[in-house]
Structure formats: structure tokens, C-alpha cells
Homo-oligomer: 394 residues x 2
């Protein structure tokens, strides 16, 4: 049938301007070799200058110029093969950022789109962990729940593991995004579906439900997914004031999940973690509900003592804030099974994280610390998720 | 907290090259006025020529030149206000197609991305029907099912209506995409979630489950969502031969849905419809299982008599194919409640649709016909879905 359909369509090609049935790209890009060598191509005969910019080292964005051939196609091969990883990039054509028209795979980070590609060499490396493999797959759903505290219908993403349909009750990881993010961030940029499917299939993590709410308490959902229309996503969020904070309204989510999904409804089957602002939310949730969760993950966290506190003078405030000190004592007196902190060496919140560890050390509180290269980037948050989940619900 | 967070971040702006926290666009685009007047802007100081191309009339793609101001920003306002509708467009900068960097809303059609925007004037118009409204929302899930016939795990999109979580059993609409599409096409380009939520809230359609499978029987799922990696999506599909056709393997889906969801498991609670190739699939499914479904919808359908038949000589083959004639007689002898055909006047499959109607007329078979302006485009398929669903499960 495909051949016949193709034959038919070829005879009616002029009519097809109506529908995007034909790929108008003349080049293949990117070309990823098995050894990690990567080339880019762009057809841009009138352009004066083309560069590709990407997170090829993971520390800073690197820029490589392309050169034009006689057919108007620009080419470049990166000087070194890349390590197994998920990479993102875009072109700059005469100074204007533009995506690779030959690459249909794109991620949105707040309001910026980038092309993505995967480098994988061997089964089990990071590239393969972030790839869709031939393993049983979980279900990903976009679900609306009622938040009595925030007085809104709100949207969240939920991953149920492959075995969920066969019955049984499951532990739950609540996973929070950063500033400017939304309920789509972890499943898209964070490759949650692939990481969970692959780690479950490899027997490295327990099958679990992952709940990814929207941490912007002034919005019901991701931009474009609510009645505010197709507004430009901004890191600073919407002008509407929030009725309450994420920690105040968090049990609305836990109640909804426990009511609608087959969860294990005990402390030892609940984990909460988040990145950046979501790490701050995680800390606030830990202090507010010390007996609801047994596992906490702070990924590049922006921590503070209270709603009035800022990140910049965290340590000074924390030492003077008696209510905060009491909450911290209560939290660790409840002996959580895991208080996990992940931070990159060049993260702009590194100092804030160092002050948190200093405070915990002074109190004699037990935590697990994971430090690696790089900064405030999704590459690290995918790594932290992969590390953190392997320690849950044991 | 937002203010404090913003203040903190403003002091650390240089570090933020690490994360896409800042929107780098300096212009707002598109600007949609309440009366439907639409302007576009693009910052491209080095460009020689910029045009915007979009489906502003819905019949052909129109092109409008932008003019550059002294700051390097290109502008244009469309000459006429637009009717309420979902529109798509892209820029061409010095001959190269590029998306609007100020507009974060994009749809993928096979391998081509376009920006989108909505024009809505009054509650109930087409623009509002395609918008997220403040009404109860259904759940959209990406689910994997086992297809014994195709010997694969396969992915589908499923919409359950807002009332589903409260219990009860629901009728099911199976909704099929066209050539080059996949299980994401109807929910993204087809705005199924918005249309269903809004028509259910308005009391115009019965609450129903909508199942959107992948009609490419040689692939488990949409490009990028399977173990074949991030390959370029193509209309002609993957080279792998299909084990069986969509109609042969279709009951695998119905069995999975009836087993895992609270469905009404009777003929009068099942509908199947599809666009283009999916309309052909719908026709083949109708002929193969005349007692499984009670409602059929053929949207700009590519119909044929058998796996060997093509669209071009449908009528001649149909009259000579005795097996086909017998199947057609059996189908209509079972008296389906609705056999609905939708076709645009300038669709490249118009003649094929006319021959189908001629054949049905000659046999005295009852069907409902809906004809409108335009061709083989998503705008029409959204309209057909909105019309067809209002006639289901009454």
C-alpha cells in the first residue's frame, strides 16, 4: 500500500502544496557517527556567515563556523568526537538564531527552542539512558486536578511505570521544575520517560509513579495550556499574584494522586525532589511536612529560610531564624531515609548550596552530597535524577 | 517570592548564559488585535528581504513582505482582519524559511514546523473552540499497547473526558491520522483536546473517549518516540515492510481499549473516523468489521477497493470487484447509524470522493455529505471533527 500511495502522490505533486507531505530539506543534519563525530549542514545560499552554537562540552556554549560549498550548503564537522549525551544546538545565520530545518527534534526551554541530538556508543551509557529503547514503556498523562488552596484547576504530568496496568500499588516521586519551567519541563527536557523506562528495565530502580506538577502557583498550567491564551513564556512568570506558595498548596497534589492512583500511602513510599526553584520548593515542603516524605532531592537548589528570606544571605538568616531552626531540627529528628543534594561546580547557586551544607554539618544532620562538573543546566539535572532515583524506596 | 527571585537573578545575570532564563527576543510577534487584525515583527538587521507566509485565507498559502525600520526590526500588518480560526505561518528571511523567534507556539506537520496563533472574537466561534477555555478538562495520555497482529508494542494517544474520573462507562471514537502523520497529529494539529473539552462543556457532544492510534503499521510510534532514534520524519514512512495493514490489526486496539478503559462495549457506542489515508483506513475497517462500529467518518478520505486497488481508478475497480461489492452490501445491510463524508471543494482527492458518493448513490446506500471550501488541510479536518462528533452516540 505504501508504494501505491507514494506512486499516486508523485503523480499529484503540484496539489501537495496544500499539505506538508514533502520534506523540503535537501540536506541531512546533524550527522552523528558511531564514534561520536558530529557534522552539521545547512542550505543557505544567500547567507554571509553561519555558525553552530551548542552545549557540546556541557560547561559553556561553544560556537563553530560553517563553510559554504558551491551549491550553497554550509558544512562543519566538530573537531572532537562527543561523549555519550543528549546535546542541544542552534544555528546563527548572519547573526540571527535559527533552528536546523533538517532536524525535526526540538526542545523548548522557557521560550527558547533548540535542536537536540543523541550520542550513544554502548548500551548503558548516558546517550542510551536518554534514548527510547526496546523495553516496556510507562504511560505519560497530562491530568488536571483541583487545588482548593490555590482555588484553581491545575495541570500536571504523571508517569506510571510499565507494570502499573497489571495492578499493585506504587511509591511516588514528586518532581519539581525550576523558575520559568512548567509541568512539561521534566518530561521533555529532563527525559523522565526514557530514564525511568530504561532504569526500571535494567532493574536499577524500583517501579514508581512520577508526578510532575506546575510550580508556578500563579498559573494553572504551562503557557498555551490554559485560558490565558498563547502568551509569551517568561522566566518571571505571570503578573497575577499567587494565592499561596507551592509548599502551602502541595498536599492538594498528594491528596489528588493518592485518591486517583494506586499509590502506597505511607511516608516511606513518598519522595520529593526538584531543580533550582523546585529544589527550594522541596526544602520548604520538607520543613512544612516532615512526616509526609521519606526521601528528599535538592538539585542545584535555590534554598532559603522562609518566604521572606532570599538566597543571597541564606546562611546568615538561617542562623538567626529561630522558627527555621526549629523546623530544621524537627525535620531531621524525623530521620528521613535520604536527604540528597546535587550541585555542579560552576553552578551560580554553588555558594548557596555550600551554605546549606555548612548549616547541616553544624547541626550534625545527615545528608548525601553529589558534586559534578558544569552548572545550572539540564544535563546535570538528568544526571541527578538518574542518581537520586536509584536510591529510592529500597 | 517571585519578586525576590527576580531581584536575585537580575544581580547574577552574566551567569545566566547557563540556562535559558531570559527571553532574548526584543519584539512581540504576532500581535493579534481583538478585531482580527494581525501584525508580525522580526529583528533581523542584516537581512535583505523578509516575507511572512501563512494559511491566512485557508485556500492557498499567502505571502506578505515586511519592511525594515531603522532599528533593524521588520514589520507588516496583514491587509485584512482575519476570521476566527487557528492560523499557521513562518518567515522567509533571504529565501530561507525560519520560524518566528518571538512566538513559542509551534506545530509539527510531518517534518515541517510552523508557528501558530489563534483569532477569536466571540465565545463559540472557531477560534474559541480551538482555545483552552476555563471549562473542565479531560486527560490526554500516551499509552503503549501490545499488537499481536503487528508483533510490536505500539503507542497511541488517548483522551478521556473530564467526567471519566468520576466513574461510569463511555463510548469511544477511534480517530485516525493521514499519511506522514502519527499518534500525535490529531491531538496537536487537530486540537482534539480543546475541541472535545469545549464541545462537551457546551453540551453539544456526549462525553466520549477518543483513541488516536498510529496508522503507520511499519512503525511502533511517532518519529523520535521509538528505538529507531531521532530519524527524519518522512511522508513515505520507514523502509521496513509492514506485517499487516491497519484494518487487519485494528481489533488489537479495540481489545486493548475495552480491556483497560471503562468503555461501553457495544456497536452503538463505537465510532471510527480518519483523515486522508486514515479515511481510507476507516473505509477498510468498515468493510472488514461491519458489526463492530455504528458510526463512520471519512474526512478528505483516500478510498480504494482493496489492498491492490489505487485511488485513481477507484470507481472502475469498485464496479468490477465482486468481493468489494459484497462487503459494501453487507456493510450497509447492517444499517450503520451514520456514514459521514466530509470533503473540501479544492481537495486533491475531491474526484476520488465524488466517485465514492456515486457508488453509494448507485447502491442506494445512505450517507451524510458535508462539503466546504478549501483543500487537504488541517483547518478542514478540525471542522469535520467538530461536525462529526456532534452526531455521535445520540
Amino acid at each position: 500500500m505504501k508504494k501505491l500511495l507514494l506512486a499516486l502522490l508523485l503523480t499529484t505533486l503540484p496539489a501537495l502544496a496544500q499539505q506538508a507531505l514533502w520534506d523540503r530539506q535537501h540536506v541531512t543534519s546533524p550527522i552523528v557517527q558511531p564514534d561520536g563525530q558530529v557534522s552539521f549542514q545547512l542550505y543557505a545560499p544567500k547567507a554571509q556567515q553561519v555558525v553552530v552554537k551548542g552545549d557540546f562540552t556541557g560547561i559553556d556554549s561553544e560556537s563553530f563556523p560553517l563553510s559554504k560549498d558551491s551549491l550553497g550548503v554550509w558544512h562543519v564537522t566538530l573537531p572532537r568526537p562527543l561523549q555519550p549525551e543528549l546535546y542541544s544546538y542552534a544555528f546563527e545565520v548572519d547573526g540571527m538564531r535559527t533552528l536546523d530545518p533538517a532536524n525535526a527534534y526540538r526542545n523548548r526551554d522557557i521560550s527558547t527552542y533548540s535542536n537536540i541530538f543523541l550520542v550513544s556508543r554502548t548500551q548503558g551509557d548516558r546517550g542510551s539512558l536518554y534514548s527510547v529503547q526496546d523495553v516496556p514503556h510507562g504511560t505519560v498523562s497530562k491530568v488536571w486536578y483541583a487545588s482548593p488552596t490555590l482555588k484553581m484547576q491545575r495541570r500536571l504530568t504523571i508517569y506510571t511505570p510499565p507494570s502499573y496496568e497489571q495492578g499493585g500499588r506504587y511509591p511516588v516521586l514528586y518532581l519539581l521544575h525550576g523558575m520559568g519551567g512548567d509541568e512539561n519541563a521534566w518530561s521533555e527536557l529532563g527525559r523522565v520517560t526514557q530514564i525511568l523506562d530504561n532504569l526500571i528495565a535494567a532493574g536499577k530502580i524500583k517501579p514508581m509513579i512520577v508526578v510532575m506538577p506546575n510550580g508556578n502557583t500563579n498559573a494553572p498550567s504551562a503557557p498555551g495550556e490554559n485560558q490565558l491564551g498563547l502568551y509569551p513564556p517568561k522566566a518571571e512568570g505571570l503578573p497575577t499574584p499567587a494565592v499561596a506558595e507551592m509548599d502551602e498548596s502541595f498536599l492538594d497534589i498528594v491528596h489528588f494522586i493518592d485518591h486517583h492512583y494506586r499509590t502506597r500511602r505511607s511516608r516511606q513510599s513518598r519522595a520529593v525532589s526538584g531543580l533550582s526553584m523546585g529544589g527550594g520548593h522541596t526544602f520548604a515542603i520538607a520543613l512544612r511536612y516532615p512526616k509526609t516524605f521519606d526521601y528528599y532531592g535538592l538539585f542545584s537548589a535555590a534554598v532559603r529560610t522562609s518566604l521572606q528570606g532570599s538566597w543571597e544571605d541564606f546562611y546568615q538568616q538561617a542562623k538567626q531564624d529561630l522558627a527555621f531552626q526549629q523546623e530544621l531540627t524537627t525535620l531531621f529528628a524525623s530521620r528521613p531515609r535520604l536527604f540528597w543534594i546535587g550541585m555542579g561546580k560552576t553552578d551560580f547557586l554553588y555558594q548557596n548550596g555550600k551554605e546549606l551544607r555548612q548549616l547541616l554539618d553544624e547541626g550534625g544532620y545527615h545528608y548525601t552530597y553529589f558534586e559534578n562538573e558544569g552548572g545550572h543546566i539540564w544535563r546535570n539535572w538528568r544526571i541527578y535524577l538518574s542518581e537520586f532515583t536509584q536510591q529510592l524506596f529500597r
